[in-house]
Symmetry: C2
Subunit: 378 residues, 2 copies
């Protein structure tokens, strides 16, 4: 693995992350392909909007169609027809969100499938094994994702458990990597937890860095806390992470969140927001978000965003997209998804360009001003 | 309008139909875009699978988003981002299928919208006006579509009403065409009815031809009658239609139906079968239809059809398509639709080629043998 920083602009950085399936320019946004597909689009659509790396959810793929089945198909890339890099999460986040259908122990977390109620045990080691079956380019360690708000001492214990799990994960990964084709090309990232407590984040970062991973994630944010709080934690945590390793802010966020996190030294992002919002008719534009089902668009012949060059904006009007949404046509979901993903990916292209030109701060202020302009739906 | 026959092979014919939006090679299959979109795909997907002309449903578009709104958008082509030809039906078929929510009179047919229960009157003249608002390339006359089975004398009265409506449709169309931009490029097709009664079909054909249209459709078939009956009626009816005008068999059918109708002199087809079946996981292959959700495909790494060159077959396995179907991922519907449409459109390409080479009869027999082979799901 190699991660090369090519430009700095303040704390923001631009770099190249080399994986078994090619080089990824950072900062990068990763569309979410929960069940082995980015909802409503095809791989060639994803290439068209410029996606360079996508995320797959270990929890979902483990349960259906099963990671062993995917291994027998030649791994996740071949199975889903995507030959660019894939990052897989550990499955922990989904398991912990099952609330009363999971039980935590030192060994791991036992849970019941949301599909059929069957019982499963997810451990640091099995999360490694599952992701080796998927043969993703980047695997995440299993971390505890405590429900928030939580007491300080509970969060502290969670940080320590996450660190013990991270050590087991790394050890198992290194052993498997010696004896596995999939492992030879895979990178493993550790995850810093600690809620919104700066000193617990500091402790978690130190414990995780001491183990040593190819990259580091900041987990447990964007779970309801205020933006300012999130930015503060990202800033203090990112500053503790090794300069020469990629930094991944998990599950974040809005376009403004991405830019603010880049300004604090983050390199990688994933979020369902562009794809989920698209299917709900909520579209991002350079002047803020709009809701395409709004009656004001019934006879609007303009594109979603006049500043956008995506297929949807080149060919279709707001009036047509509104019609497709109201008529329940799934092609509307596809066209909306193409646009929202293009918006996110194009924003990141502009972020990288601004960093290279040393104009990131200007870009950031301009983006805030236009994107936060009075929303068109207001 | 011009329709030029370029090849004959027995009764089968190959030709070129010139419309305001380009030339269509016949025999041709028209994918159905009921609500201004062929379900689950985008216009560029349609171009990719070789669609040259699509069908829009006047009933649906009249109710939502409204044909006046579409006219103000510059017509259906511009509204939906499709610059190749479009044929629109008259809306009659859908209205008559509303059963107890419609009332027939000499004037037309009054019906209640399936969307909001609002009352509407569809007349021969309003069907013309709506389709001029849509500015389709080919408009259909309003015909009565009687529920079958029906008594002979009821069918006879229906044929006569359809002929009176056809005369009003043509007269109104010719008047509007003189004074309308949309009308100048539009063709109007008459429709032959008469159920499965050969002499009523003969009467209906004579009455319709006497009015004079740019093309002629055979309506009221594929409504539950046996295939042999349908083929017999198609054969006798097609033989009565002017040689130099396109012949359109409405709402038909299976791949075998299309080939059998071409063998009887039909030039144009539409049917929801390839698109609807695709969304239900039923896929056409050169060796018959398969149901992708079948457990036997869970670990099948082969394409849907090894003889197919579509995007779906080039890039994805049966195992993956089965996974998408079971996981409820709409991308599965898209990939299945691309394949089924490609199958229909490619079959028609091969039909046209065989006619040009004078090998249509051999093609027809070969197709029957392979397509009717023991289904792969058996």
């Amino acid at each position: 693995m190699s991660f090369t920083l090519t430009h700095h602009d303040g704390v923001a950085r631009r770099g190249l992350l080399t994986t078994a399936h090619g080089v990824v320019e950072t900062p990068v946004f990763m569309p979410v392909g929960t069940q082995g597909v980015v909802k409503a689009v095809t791989p060639r659509d994803l290439v068209d909007v410029g996606a360079r790396i996508i995320l797959g959810n270990t929890y979902h793929l483990h349960l259906r169609p099963g990671d062993e089945l995917i291994r027998r198909r030649g791994g996740l890339h071949r199975f889903i027809g995507w030959d660019r890099p894939i990052l897989t999460d550990s499955g922990g986040y989904q398991v912990f969100s099952l609330a009363d259908r999971r039980k935590l122990s030192e060994e791991g977390v036992e849970f019941q499938s949301h599909l059929d109620g069957s019982r499963h045990l997810l451990t640091p080691e099995s999360a490694v094994d599952i992701q080796l079956n998927l043969a993703s380019d980047i695997a995440m360690v299993l971390d505890e994702c405590p429900a928030l708000p939580a007491r300080y001492d509970a969060l502290d214990r969670s940080v320590e458990l996450t660190a013990r799990w991270a050590r087991r994960s790394r050890q198992h990964f290194l052993e498997r990597r010696l004896h596995s084709d999939a492992g030879r090309g895979q990178l493993q990232f550790g995850i810093v937890q600690g809620g919104t407590e700066v000193d617990l984040r500091t402790k978690s970062a130190a414990l995780t860095i001491a183990i040593g991973f190819e990259g580091y994630a900041i987990g447990g944010l964007s779970v309801g806390e205020a933006s300012d709080t999130m930015y503060r934690i990202v800033e203090s945590t990112a500053a503790l992470l090794p300069v020469d390793r990629p930094r991944y802010l998990m599950g974040v966020g809005t376009p403004l969140d991405l830019i603010e996190a880049v300004a604090r030294g983050v390199d990688m992002f994933d979020c369902v927001m562009p794809t989920r919002n698209a299917r709900n008719g909520r579209l991002f534009t350079s002047e803020g978000a709009i809701n395409i089902k709004n009656a004001r668009y019934a006879e609007d012949d303009g594109p979603v965003d006049a500043a956008c060059g995506c297929y949807t904006c080149r060919r279709f009007s707001r009036a047509y997209l509104r019609h497709l949404f109201l008529a329940g046509e799934m092609t509307g979901g596809t066209l909306n998804t193409l646009h929202n993903l293009n918006f996110y990916l194009d924003t990141m292209r502009r972020v990288r360009e601004a960093i290279a030109f040393g104009t990131f701060e200007k870009f950031r202020l301009d983006f805030h001003r236009t994107f936060s302009a009075r929303p068109l739906t207001a």
